[in-house]
């Protein structure tokens, strides 16, 4: 139990230090680290007193159920099952982060889920941050952030669906400091 806990906590700490854009590894890593520490403490105590010891996670869940009137054997069973769940849930979260990060890694042109125009405009404000300017001809519909690293594009042909297989759409784009395009998210528009 203690060895498993140390392993889980180490894995959790590693995930906390992993550089990844979604932040999901931080949530999963934090949960793994805390649960690993709980498992380690229970394991060491079990070695010391030579008796079976429940983790805090398991105690909290089973204790709570007993308080609400659930018979102790059932409550302990649920506590034990939660224990297993606590170990697997963060792994699931981390797995999801991996898929999300892998999904579009290295691919510049991607298509997002459709949005209504109002939602896209609210997202655009957040994407560009204050200080953005319109570039190209006045009324072009191409907006660049103050630091030059982000762009929102809704030109007449984008919104009109005059090109492309996805019909009316807008763009959220990201550049490197040297001007290289890193991401070009095509967001289809829906008109409810």
């Amino acid at each position: 139990m203690a060895a498993g806990g140390v392993g889980e906590a180490t894995l959790g700490a590693g995930l906390l230090l992993t550089l990844e854009p979604t932040g999901l590894t931080k949530i999963g890593g934090g949960a793994l680290f805390l649960h690993g520490a709980d498992l380690t403490a229970a394991g060491l105590k079990q070695l010391w007193i030579n008796q079976s010891v429940q983790t805090f996670t398991s105690q909290i869940v089973s204790g709570g159920l007993i308080t609400t009137g659930v018979p102790s054997p059932y409550a302990n069973l649920v506590g034990g099952l939660t224990e297993i769940g606590m170990a697997t849930l963060p792994i699931g979260i981390v797995g999801k982060a991996g898929v999300a990060a892998r999904g579009t890694k290295g691919i510049i042109d991607v298509t997002s889920k459709p949005r209504i125009l109002d939602t896209a405009l609210v997202t655009a404000e957040k994407w560009l941050k204050p200080g953005y300017t319109e570039i190209g001809k006045p009324g072009s519909g191409v907006y660049r952030s103050a630091d030059g690293l982000r762009q929102f594009r809704m030109s007449a042909t984008d919104i009109g669906g005059g090109h492309g297989k996805i019909g009316p759409h807008v763009h959220f784009e990201k550049f490197s400091p040297t001007g290289e395009k890193l991401k070009n998210i095509h967001t289809p528009l829906i008109f409810p």
Partner: protein, 78 residues
């Protein structure tokens, strides 16, 4: 009638990604004053992606660095 510039280039087979075989470079005088770079799997269908550039050299630079399309590869389509 307004005239506009449009060029087509075939992406070298070794540089084709996401099944993009053709690039179209199109001037957008009327709306943005910039240049569109379209990626097509098939020229008879709509584009699979589009990017926008303030100038033609900027669009051609992207075509060159990302897709390996050189200046000589572009053929006028007007």
């Amino acid at each position: 009638m307004k005239t506009y510039n449009r060029f087509i280039a075939e992406v070298p087979p070794v540089r084709q990604e996401q099944h993009i075989r053709w690039l179209v470079l199109e001037e957008d005088l009327e709306n943005t004053g910039g240049w569109y770079l379209y990626g097509h799997q098939d020229l008879n269908e709509g584009s699979d992606f589009d990017s926008w550039h303030q100038t033609r050299p900027e669009a051609q630079r992207e075509a060159s660095t990302r897709w390996g399309v050189t200046e000589d590869d572009w053929k006028s389509d007007v």
